[in-house]
C-alpha cells in the first residue's frame, strides 16, 4: 500500500430533488439539469494514511454517512476525485447487499465476487466466515428465511473476513446481541491492532476518542475541524451541549447518542451483566441517601455476572445532575484497576468517594459494565440511586473544588 490509503480531493456530493417525477427521466435523456440541489458534502479534501484510525463526527445530517458511502464506492460523488488503495469493507447497513433468494453460502461467494475475489480465494475463507457467523445449517438456506440476528452476523462475518485493507464502520462498533456483540467488537479491535486503516463514524464521543488517531468534524457537509481527537471532540461536545441541552445520563461514559441503548441479553450468563448495585453513605445503607457535602463518604459496590469466556469486565460509574448532564465519571479500566470475583462467582467493583465534594442538590448514580478495555458496553444501568446533598456553608454551584487561599 502506498502513502495514502484513502483520499478525497475537492469532493462534493449533492442529492437531486425533482418537483415532478418525469423531470428526472427528461434530464437523463436530454442532459439538461432539471433538479434542485440538496447538498450533502461540499469540497471535502481528505487523506487517510495506511494504518490510521480516523473518526468522523458531526450531528445528524452533517454528511457523515454520505462521506462513508462515497468512500466505500456505494454512491458516486457529484464532483471531485476519490481514490482508494486496497480492498474496502464497509459496515454501513449490514446485510443490505444480500440476494434474498440465494442461500447464505451463495451470498458469501456473491459478496466475495462483488469485492473482486476469485472463487478460490473465497473458498479459502469460507469455513472461517461460517464458523464466525454461527448460523450452522442455515448457511444452506435462502437468506430471506434468516432472522435479523442471523442476517447481521453473516454480513458482519463476510465484511470482516475478506481481508480488507480499509474498514469503514458507520455507527456500530459491534453488531448482534449477547456474546456475538462482544465477538464482533473484538474482531474490529483485531483490525486496529493489525494496523489496518479504519474509518469510524459515531455519535459516541467516548469511543471515538479512545479508538481514533485523528478526527474530522463534519458540519453541513463541510469539514469544520480536523485534528487530534481530544481537541476536536471537546470543541464539538461543547457546541452540542450549548445547542441542545439533553439528558446525557451515562452516555458520555460509553455510548453517547449511539443509538445503542442498553444491551439486550439474549443468552443468560454468556456475557457479563449487572446483578446488583449497593450504595452506602458513611458505611450505612438506607433507602434515602443523604450526604453532607465534604463530610460524608459515598461507597458504591457493583456486583456483576462475569459471563463466560470473556476477560473480566470493567465498571464505570457516573454522577449526573437532575438535568442529566454528567458531572463526573470514573472507570476501573481507565484507572487500571483489576476487579475481582468473590466466593459466589460474582464480579465485584467497589469504589469510595471520600468526603464527597458535591454541593447542595439532587444527583443520580449511573453504572456501566464494559469490556476490560472500557470501550465495549455490555450493560448500562441508569439512575440506579438518587443522592441528596446538603451543605453547611452557602457556596453555590455543583462541586467544591480543592483550593487554597494564598493571601
Amino acid at each position: 500500500m502506498g502513502e495514502v490509503a484513502l483520499s478525497m480531493q475537492s469532493v462534493s456530493k449533492y442529492y437531486k430533488y425533482y418537483e415532478k417525477e418525469m423531470d428526472r427521466i427528461k434530464e437523463i435523456i436530454s442532459g439538461k439539469p432539471r433538479f434542485q440541489k440538496i447538498s450533502a458534502l461540499e469540497d471535502i479534501n481528505l487523506e487517510v494514511k495506511p494504518g490510521e484510525v480516523l473518526g468522523v463526527i458531526g450531528q445528524n445530517g452533517a454528511g457523515k454517512s454520505t462521506l462513508l458511502k462515497v468512500l466505500s464506492g456505494t454512491i458516486l460523488p457529484s464532483s471531485g476525485e476519490v481514490s482508494a488503495h486496497g480492498r474496502i469493507a464497509a459496515l454501513l447497513e449490514l446485510g443490505a447487499s444480500f440476494h434474498p433468494d440465494m442461500t447464505g453460502k451463495e451470498n458469501v461467494f456473491l459478496s466475495g465476487a462483488i469485492k473482486g475475489m476469485s472463487k478460490n480465494e473465497i473458498e479459502n475463507i469460507y469455513g472461517e466466515i461460517v464458523a464466525f457467523a454461527e448460523i450452522g445449517e442455515f448457511i444452506d438456506r435462502p437468506v430471506k428465511t434468516y432472522s435479523s440476528g442471523m442476517f447481521v452476523r453473516l454480513a458482519f462475518s463476510i465484511a470482516t473476513h475478506i481481508d480488507p485493507e480499509v474498514l469503514i464502520i458507520d455507527e456500530a462498533l459491534s453488531v448482534g446481541d449477547g456474546a456475538f456483540s462482544r465477538k464482533s467488537f473484538d474482531r474490529i479491535m483485531d483490525f486496529k491492532e493489525a494496523g489496518k486503516t479504519i474509518l469510524f463514524c459515531s455519535h459516541s464521543m467516548y469511543q471515538v476518542e479512545v479508538l481514533c488517531d485523528r478526527v474530522i468534524w463534519l458540519e453541513n457537509g463541510r469539514i469544520r475541524k480536523e485534528g487530534a481527537p481530544v481537541d476536536v471532540i471537546s470543541e464539538y461536545s461543547e457546541l452540542v451541549r450549548m445547542a441542545a441541552p439533553r439528558n446525557e445520563s451515562l452516555g458520555s461514559v460509553a455510548q453517547e447518542e449511539s443509538g445503542e441503548t442498553e444491551v439486550v441479553i439474549s443468552e443468560a450468563g454468556a456475557i457479563p451483566r449487572i446483578l446488583e448495585v449497593l450504595v452506602k453513605v458513611d458505611g450505612q445503607t438506607s433507602e434515602v441517601h443523604k450526604i453532607i457535602s465534604e463530610k460524608s463518604d459515598l461507597e458504591v459496590t457493583v456486583l456483576f455476572d462475569p459471563g463466560n469466556g470473556v476477560p473480566l469486565a470493567s465498571v464505570a460509574i457516573a454522577i449526573s445532575g437532575g438535568d442529566g448532564r454528567i458531572l463526573s465519571s470514573v472507570g476501573s479500566a481507565h484507572d487500571k484497576i483489576e476487579l475481582f470475583i468473590n466466593e459466589q462467582g460474582q464480579g465485584v467493583a467497589k469504589i469510595l468517594f471520600p468526603a464527597l465534594p458535591l454541593l447542595r442538590g439532587n444527583y443520580y448514580l449511573d453504572v456501566a459494565l464494559l469490556c476490560e478495555k472500557g470501550i465495549h458496553l455490555y450493560e448500562a444501568a441508569r439512575q440506579v440511586a438518587e443522592i441528596f446533598v446538603e451543605q453547611e456553608g452557602s457556596e453555590r454551584g455543583v462541586v467544591k473544588l480543592p483550593h487554597q487561599w494564598l493571601s
Partner: protein
Amino acid sequence: MSFVQGFFRNMVGGLVRPCESVIKNWSLYSMLVKRDLVNRTSGTILGKVWPLVQPALQILGYWFIFGVIFSVRAESRGPNFLEYLLIGMLPWLCVAEVLNRSATMFREFAPLYRRNPFPLELLPLLVMTIPCLVYGSAYFVLNLFLGGVDKALLSLVVLPLFMIWLIPLSLLFPVLGLFVKDFAQAIPFLLMITLFLTPILYFPSMLPDGLRQFIWINPFSDLMALVHGLLQDSEYTWMNAVRPFLIWLFLLGPCWLVYKRSIPHIREVL
C-alpha cells in the same frame, strides 16, 4: 467533442463497456447466471425439463389458435405452418422475455447494488444471457429435429445475433422501466402488439397488398425474414439485414448514453 465524435464514442461504449464488465467480473457474472438458471427450476416437479416444456407449451397454444382454429395454411412452396411458427416463435419468446425483464431489471437486482459498489454495466448482458441459454437449447433441439445437423448448427447463431441486436433496447428499457412507472405496465401490451405486427403467427404473403409494404417499418419483421431465410430457405433480401443494422447503429450510442447518465440516479431513486 463534436456531436459526431460523441455519437460514435457512445456507440462503441454501448457495445464494449457491457462486454468489458462481463469479462472483468466473470466470476460474479457466472454465479448470477447459474443462480438464475437454478431459480427457474428449483422446487418444481418437472425440474430441469421446464426450460424445454415452457416454450413448447406456449407454441402449442399459438399453434392451436392459428393453425387449428384459424386454419392458417401453408404457402404453396414454403414450409408448413407449424414449422414456420416454431422457427419464428422461439426467438420471439426469447426477445419478449429479455425486454420484459429488462424493464424491471433495476428493481429486481436492487438488493445487490443498493448498498454495494456493484458493476451496473453487467446487468443488461446478464438479463440477456439466461433466456438465450434456455431458449437456445430448445431452439437447437427443434432445428435438429426439423432441419438436421446443418440447420441446428446454424440455429446456434440466431439467438446470440438477436441478443446483440437487442443491446440498445436492453440498455434503454431498464432506465425507462425504473423512471417511468407507466412503462413497465405498458410493456406486455407493447410486446403483444409487436408480436401481431411481426410475421410470426402468419406468413407475410397473407397480409393485404396495401399493408405488406408497411411491415418493414417494424425491424422484427426484417429479423424474422432473415431467420426464416437462414433456417427454412425462405426468400429474403439484403435490405432485411441493412434496415435492422442501421436502426441498431442509430440506437446504440444514445441508449448507452442514457444508461450511463442514469447510473448516479438509480440508487437515489431506490
